[in-house]
């Protein structure tokens, strides 16, 4: 026994020495490599990154802005979620942005940002992103980097195959992942099959202001519409959606929706449907959905409840919709820069299926149909297949393109990115990701003109990649250099929330347009005060309106009396600064909402309901100057039945 123990120890010692030997040689290798890579991602202090990356916040409901190649986060743009950091969704001006037909919703699950395009190329004017849970599409302006508009999508549920835009930003498209009764009604769930519908929504975008309006909804069979992408170049005018659950199961989908050998990619000729609609086709159906618009001059959002929507039954427009059989519950639906190849990433398939747009048109022309589903023609798999990448990996999800004839596909199960060649379908390179990659992004990768150079993968599992922080942690992205034949992993960086898709763009396209501050002269807020003479306090029943200004480093007025318990005090505060990066904050003790962060030239309103008698302070929360700590004031709250007169002052004792 003793002998065995001794020999075991000896063996372990030998193994350990081997291992440590291995380790040291490995680390010296990666040391040399990583110093080279460090230079590739190092942005010296004060210098700018070459690209912006807009990464979806997933269950944070927001959109984050990063720099590439450094992986530094610059901003979190609140979109679908309340954001106490600056008062978005709490201030009176921004509350309407989160209004829906279900009432105000403080949160959503944001997925797929897409940058506006002109002639198939990124133009950097706006970025769109979908709210998945309570179906909505938001438009974020890339001058202000603020959410400017949110439109709710009726007849939809699980707004997942969204928000992808056509090559001239004619439409932002939103497809439903969950089919539902249309219109919604009380019915047995088991009667799903044949009765539920999947709405694919085409939202027109005003070319000048970006304002969104639902042009039409196509009421498709009750499948799950998972992801989508626009045709471009030769296939401009078409839109492609992957589907799963063509079995139309309503329970235990992980088994019941995985039975068919092939599901479909739905090919939609939206130009044809647009023409049909422009000629009065389709029908207006009663609906109820919110359209929320931020006005840059009043700094105030308004909600309009829309009461009808135009719906189109696809079989009423012959030749507008076809199904392309695609193996095994395809997830990503990606179109190459030329518009010829449509990649169906069959997530349970061993191969990667690529359809040919040319062959699809040919099969349609020759009417070679394999059958139909709910009146929609199904093409033959072999007739539309351009080729397939054989055994590239396990669990393909998403594909992007570098504009050099190469495609890059993520594989969730085998946790890797695989580079392959369009047309020859040969695998060129594969690199592991850490771990379980979802989407990937190449700057301009979803356009006719990708910019190549960088690719980043967004991972679902981060585990041991960073210092441990307990059971809950941020996700992670990994940046690869794709300028060479082989991909090279450069950098890990944490992301905020769960990054689904991201959109990236060369910085020079947008950075010069970025707004520095709002012009006070253009401020048309009804409760603004632009100088000391306009500051005042007015009582209207129980409502008290404070017209207040802020400038380094005081509030005006900063002494207020005559407010009573039970009042509702509206602090309407205008930041008089007209300089870059001089926001002021406003916080008042006991506020049940949040603070305000007010940009120069902007007016924001915080509602405060005093509950206790006393003299209560308010102060600036954003260190604004050498006298920031002096930027404070008091509001006196008297008993409900008191007769303290309403008074206000600044710079003198209140009389």
């Amino acid at each position: 026994m003793k002998k065995i123990i001794t020999s075991t120890i000896a063996l372990v010692a030998i193994l350990a020495s081997f291992t440590s030997c291995n380790n040291s040689s490995k680390s010296s290798n990666s040391g040399a490599l990583s110093s080279n890579n460090a230079e590739k991602v190092y942005i010296a202090p004060g210098e700018h990154d070459s690209h912006y990356a807009f990464i979806s916040g997933g269950y944070s409901g927001n959109l984050t802005v990063y720099g590439l190649p450094s992986g530094r986060m610059f901003k979190e743009i609140p979109v679908f979620s309340q954001f106490p950091t600056n008062g978005y969704g709490y201030s009176e001006e921004t509350k309407p942005m989160l209004e829906t037909s279900f009432g105000p919703i403080p949160w959503d699950d944001s997925h797929h940002p897409d940058i506006s395009q002109t002639n198939g190329e990124l133009d950097g004017r706006w970025i769109f992103i979908n709210g998945n849970n309570t179906p909505r599409i938001a438009r974020v302006g890339l001058r202000s980097f603020e959410t400017e508009e949110i439109i709710e999508i009726p007849n939809s549920a699980g707004n997942h195959s969204s928000s992808f835009i056509t090559e001239n930003t004619e439409y932002v498209v939103a497809g439903t992942r969950f089919s539902v009764p249309v219109p919604q009604r009380d019915m047995p769930i088991k009667d799903y099959k044949g009765n539920f519908k999947g709405a694919l929504t085409f939202i027109s975008v005003d070319p000048e202001h970006g304002h969104m309006d639902i042009k039409f909804q196509i009421l498709m069979p009750g499948f799950n519409y998972d992801l989508s992408h626009p045709g471009r170049g030769k296939s401009h005018g078409w839109f492609f959606f992957t589907t799963y659950n063509t079995e139309e199961a309503s329970t235990l989908l992980e088994v019941n929706a995985s039975q068919n050998d092939k599901d479909f990619i739905a090919a939609i000729n939206w130009k044809k449907i647009e023409e049909y609609v422009n000629n009065g086709g389709g029908k207006m159906m009663p609906a109820n959905y919110a359209h929320n618009l931020m006005d840059e001059s009043t700094h105030t959002a308004t909600t309009t409840m829309k009461k009808e929507v135009r719906v189109v039954n696809p079989i009423d427009v012959p030749g507008a919709v076809y199904f392309l059989p695609t193996p095994k519950s395809p997830h990503g639906c990606d179109v190459d820069p030329s518009g010829e190849y449509i990649v169906g990433n069959g997530k349970l398939s061993a191969n990667l299926t690529v359809h040919s747009f040319t062959k699809m048109l040919d099969a349609i022309e020759k009417e070679k149909f394999a059958g139909e589903a709910y009146g929609i023609p199904i093409l033959n798999f072999e007739d539309v297949l351009a080729g397939s990448v054989e055994q590239p990996g396990l669990g393909p999800l998403h594909t992007e393109f570098d504009g050099q004839g190469n495609a890059y596909t993520t594989f969730f199960i085998s946790s890797e990115v695989v580079k392959w060649k369009l047309g020859t379908w040969e695998v060129i390179d594969r690199k592991p990701t850490y771990y379980s990659v979802g989407h990937l992004t190449i700057p301009g990768g979803n356009s006719a003109k990708p910019f190549g150079k960088y690719m980043f993968a967004m991972n679902k599992i981060t585990k041991d990649r960073y210092l441990p922080v307990g059971p809950e942690m941020e996700h992670s992205a990994q940046l690869y250099d794709i300028s060479g034949e082989k991909m090279e992993l450069l950098l890990d960086f944490p992301t905020h929330g769960e990054p689904h898709y991201a959109a990236a763009i060369p910085a020079e396209i947008i950075k010069e347009n970025s707004l520095k501050f709002y012009k006070l002269a253009n401020n048309k807020h009804p409760y603004k005060a632009t100088n000391d003479e306009e500051t005042r306090v007015e009582r209207d029943g129980k409502n008290v309106h404070v017209y207040m200004t802020m400038i380094r480093s005081h509030f005006s007025p900063d002494n207020i009396e005559g407010v009573k318990v039970g009042d509702k005090v509206f602090f309407h505060i205008t930041n008089l600064e007209q300089d870059f990066d001089v926001p002021h904050g406003f916080a008042v003790i006991g506020a049940n909402n949040a603070e305000l962060l007010i940009a120069p030239g902007q007016t924001r309103t915080l509602t405060w309901e005093p509950k206790q008698v006393g003299v209560w302070p308010f102060y600036c929360t954003d260190f604004c100057s050498a006298l920031h700590q002096e930027m404070q004031g008091y509001i006196r709250v008297s008993a409900e039945n008191s007769d303290t007169p309403l008074k206000w002052s600044m710079g003198e004792d209140i009389e």
Binding site: E577, Q578, D579, L627
Partner: protein, 203 residues
């Protein structure tokens, strides 16, 4: 003499550039102001280089008790300077034309130059006086009071010309396009004088 007359006319006309371009420029840069704040001094008034520069300079200066940058109507100079410049330009053109047709001698060219130089020096002297007042006539209740090592209050007078460090600010004060056109114009009148003299000596 014809050539000298034309040069005299051109030189005098260059003064009119001051109605379009700034005479002088003062830029204020600091770590917090990678894009410096700036003021352009025109003969008709002071303007910000960027739209809100004057407002932001005033905003910063209030900490140390400096007065706000004067509006055009608050200083007599901005109504007198344009008249003087216009008059000198017209006078120069008149002398040039008379020189061209041979009615006056080249010595008038020098006379104009000397007069213009005297007026210019007076203008600079006046401008410097304003800078001294602007930089040192401070509000006794200023938020921040900085004293020199000898205990006297620090002056924030920007340099008349050149570079100076004022607290956290790098201040540059140099002529601008209008000023350079004026100097070029004045130089041309000297050239006209020299040419006229050369021509007359030959005769």
């Amino acid at each position: 003499m014809k050539k000298a007359g034309i040069i005299m006319i051109v030189g005098s006309l260059l003064l009119l550039g001051l109605f379009k371009f700034p005479l002088w420029n003062i830029m204020l840069g600091a770590p917090q102001y990678p894009d410096p704040l700036g003021m352009n001094i025109h003969i008709t008034g002071i303007q910000g280089v960027q739209e809100f520069d004057l407002q932001n300079i005033d905003g910063l200066n209030h900490y140390i008790g400096m007065k706000t940058i004067p509006k055009a109507e608050e200083m007599w100079e901005f109504s007198v300077f344009p008249k003087v410049i216009l008059a000198m330009s017209l006078l120069g053109v008149l002398i040039g034309v008379l020189g061209f047709v041979g009615k006056v001698s080249y010595k008038y060219f020098l006379g104009w130059f000397v007069l213009m130089s005297v007026l210019g020096i007076l203008g600079m002297y006046d401008f410097n006086n304003w800078l001294i007042d602007y930089g040192s006539n401070l509000d006794p209740n200023a938020i921040i009071k900085v004293t020199n090592p000898d205990g006297t209050p620090m002056s924030y007078k920007p340099p008349l010309i050149g570079y100076q460090k004022l607290l956290n600010f790098d201040v540059d004060s140099w002529p601008h396009i209008g000023g350079y056109l004026m100097f070029l114009g004045m130089t041309l009148t000297l050239v006209a004088f020299w040419l006229g003299r050369k021509t007359s000596l030959k005769q």
